[in-house]
């Protein structure tokens, strides 16, 4: 039975690295899903929500709920955006019974892409090869709001030739934090500097994670320091697109 799922692309993937969206579609299709991309989606509203701007967060949440609610499942290639929809949309509407029930309905069927492929589809990549050594950073929202830890690792292990180097402090925040990194650049820099040290120390060729915001932060720091480590969203490798340009490389 094919499932029809909606892809919520996320604003960062849409604007900065569309490849992640296409990788998600490719993997979902390989897992037997029909993927649609609802037209009236933009941003989930997380920047407003985390800044205390409740009204705009609610407006964006409503728009997103309307765009996504017709579908059986909503798939998001980002732990923090999926976490916003799953965990925080119901909080936004805690005093609005009508929107609360709609928010809860959408929240209940929203999945981070790797969690969905692994837990719901029971799927693994087949025939994907990549000769490389990778290290994995657990992005905070995915890890702590959605319990994403084993799922990406299980999927990645099915890639032939890919080996792993554990990252010391893999669950430690990279210092991105959305607006945090531009509001408190010096603190953020100190945190991501230590993260970059840990990444370099693994001797890995590739840095993988499940959130583009964190990846941009870490890859941007690694590049500024002249590190040779290349960064990808894990879904790119899982979809067999790990041989293309890494973050910050041009095709």
């Amino acid at each position: 039975m094919t499932r029809t799922v909606a892809l919520f692309v996320t604003c960062l993937v849409d604007l900065i690295r569309p490849r992640i969206g296409f990788a998600a579609i490719r993997a979902l299709e390989a897992a037997g899903c029909d993927v649609v991309v609802p037209e009236r989606q933009t941003c989930c509203g997380q920047p407003a929500l985390n800044s205390g701007d409740r009204d705009h967060a609610a407006a964006l949440a409503k728009q997103t709920i309307v765009a996504l609610e017709p579908y059986e499942a909503i798939i998001v290639p980002s732990g923090s955006c999926a976490g916003t929809i799953r965990c925080h949309y119901p909080e936004i509407f805690e005093h609005d019974a009508h929107w609360l029930s709609r928010a809860q309905a959408v929240a209940g069927k929203t999945w981070e892409v790797m969690a969905y492929l692994d837990q719901v589809c029971g799927w693994k990549p087949k025939g994907v090869t990549l000769d490389a050594k990778a290290t994995y950073h657990d992005s905070c929202s995915g890890l702590r709001e959605l319990g994403i830890k084993a799922q990406p690792r299980r999927l990645l292990k099915a890639i032939d030739g890919l080996t792993f180097a554990p990252l010391a402090g893999e669950e430690t925040c990279c210092g991105f934090g959305g607006a945090f990194c531009v509001k408190y650049p010096a603190i953020s820099n100190a945190i991501v500097g230590e993260k970059a040290d840990a990444i370099d120390a693994t001797g890995a060729d590739l840095l993988l994670a499940g959130d583009l915001g964190c990846l941009m932060n870490m890859a941007g720091k690694l590049h500024r320091r002249g590190s040779k480590v290349r960064a990808y969203h894990a879904i790119e490798l899982i979809a067999g697109m790990g041989d293309g340009p890494a973050i910050g490389e041009e095709a």
Binding site: V9, T42, A48, T172, G175, V182, V192, G193, G220, K221
Partner: protein
């Protein structure tokens, strides 16, 4: 630049501070991890601890009255203080009535919160801090930088130099034992000769009227038993129904703070010296302090009243680990301090504290009483936004972005143009300097956006 940013940047530029913080917090993190792994079902124990506190906070009035009645029955005097000033005034009045000239104080964060050291100085009453780290802080004339290790920002070398400059007969050898001996020589007589012993309370036991303190140095016992008078200042949220509850909380507290199963000294003080007792104070006064706590319960911060001041949240905080405790500027640093300081010192001057957090959730994950610290910080951000405290540039920027983002048919062309402009600023895949996002590009490069957005590429690919 704000005071917080200045202090944070100064801290970041101090390599010795970094070493000192990393040593203590890093060790605590590692030891806690081992202790929690060995604890049978720590998650259930956390839930129970949170439930105990929630129950007490929901029935605070009744438990406080029970505590008061039992403490009085045991011979103590109970005082109530609404504010920090009231609490200090009560303490000073007791000291004056007792003709006290000197006070031996066992470390208490509540005492710091209400400004007790300052109040004693103003009243001309001598104060000796008897916790080793607080002793260091007193000698250096500083403020604590951590709620468990007040002097965690100091290295051993710095402490050695301080002791040599201030102790009457300082250590000769550069060993920890010799330094401890030097402090012991300095402190012991002062403790034994003090008129008043002062402490906070880790727990107040409602059904017995007992006050519990924990230390690793035994300094509370030596500060509180020999003097004539024992004065306790305690936050009203410190109450637990009975001894078994206190024991459960103690198990959580010690492990979360240091990774130890129990502190070296755990003492329950029930009233002053009784007839036939060989030692103990003649009088015991307990000052129960509100100082914003009732208001916290009413204004959406009830969960914060669960806090048992273990320090795990700061030990595991990526921001605290970089900047240490002083940068926060309040009595309490780290995640719990960022939630509490706006209550104690006002939101407007402490806006930075609620924003200087990546919301990574680690603090909540380790908190032994499951305080949703990131949610509480976001609650402060909501309030700050509602009350118009956020800068105009921020409001305008987010407003414009949201206005566009809620109009998808406008959002597509606008973002397409914006990404094209952004692409022009970069070369070979990266942007090294980005106007309006200097905070990003000062320290790292920004990947250049794709030539076409996902939505554009997707539509093209699907066009029949």
């Amino acid at each position: 630049m704000s005071g917080f940013t200045d202090r944070a940047e100064a801290a970041l530029a101090d390599p010795i501070l970094k070493i000192a913080v990393e040593r203590t917090a890093g060790t605590a993190e590692a030891k806690r991890g081992i202790a929690i792994d060995a604890f049978p079902d720590f998650e259930a124990a956390r839930s129970r601890a949170a439930a105990i506190k929630d129950h007490v906070i929901a029935h605070l009035g009744a438990y406080l009255e029970q505590f008061e009645a039992n403490a009085i029955a045991a011979g103590a005097k109970v005082h109530w203080a609404r504010t920090a000033d009231e609490a200090c005034a009560i303490v000073i009045a007791i000291c004056k009535a007792e003709g006290a000239k000197s006070v031996a104080r066992s470390k208490s964060m509540l005492g710091e919160e209400i400004g007790l050291p300052h109040a004693l100085a103003e009243a001309g009453i001598g104060r000796v801090e008897t916790d080793l780290a607080e002793h260091i802080i007193q000698l250096a004339d500083e403020r604590p930088s951590h709620i468990i290790w007040p002097a965690m920002h100091k290295t051993r070398d710095q402490v050695s130099a301080l002791f040599k400059a201030k102790h009457r007969s300082p250590h000769q050898e550069e060993t920890i034992a010799a330094m401890a001996e030097s402090a012991r020589r300095e402190l012991r007589t002062q403790m034994l000769n003090a008129d008043v012993g002062m402490s906070g309370a880790n727990f107040l036991i409602a059904d017995s009227g007992a006050v519990c303190t924990v230390t690793n140095e035994g300094n509370a016992e030596l500060s509180l038993v020999p003097p004539r008078v024992h004065i306790v200042t305690a936050g009203i949220e410190k109450i637990v129904p009975s001894m078994p509850h206190a024991i459960h909380m103690l198990r959580m507290l010690a492990r979360s703070a240091t990774g130890a199963a129990l502190t070296q000294y755990t003492t329950f003080y029930t009233g002053p010296k009784r007839a036939g007792d060989r030692d103990g104070p003649d009088a015991m006064h307990i000052v129960l302090v509100d100082n914003g706590r009732t208001k916290m319960r009413e204004e959406g911060l009830a969960e914060m009243l669960r806090c048992i001041r273990c320090g795990a949240c700061m030990n595991h905080c990526v921001v605290f680990r970089q900047i240490g405790g002083h940068a926060y500027g309040g009595t309490y640093p780290g995640p719990m301090g960022a939630v509490l300081t706006p209550v104690l010192d006002g939101l407007a001057p402490n806006r930075d504290l609620i924003h200087a957090c990546t919301l990574n959730g680690k603090c909540q994950e380790v908190c032994p009483v499951r305080i949703p610290l990131p949610t509480l910080l976001k609650g402060w951000r909501d309030k700050s936004w509602r009350e118009g405290l956020e800068p105009t540039s921020m409001r305008a920027g987010l407003g414009l972005w949201a206005w566009i983002a809620t109009r998808p048919s406008l959002y597509r062309p606008v973002t397409t143009i914006a990404m094209r402009v952004m692409r022009l600023l970069g070369k070979k895949g990266w942007i090294a300097s980005l106007p309006l996002a200097g905070g990003w590009t000062r320290h790292r490069d920004m990947p250049r956006p794709a030539a076409q957005t996902f939505m554009t590429q997707y539509k093209k690919a699907r066009r029949p």
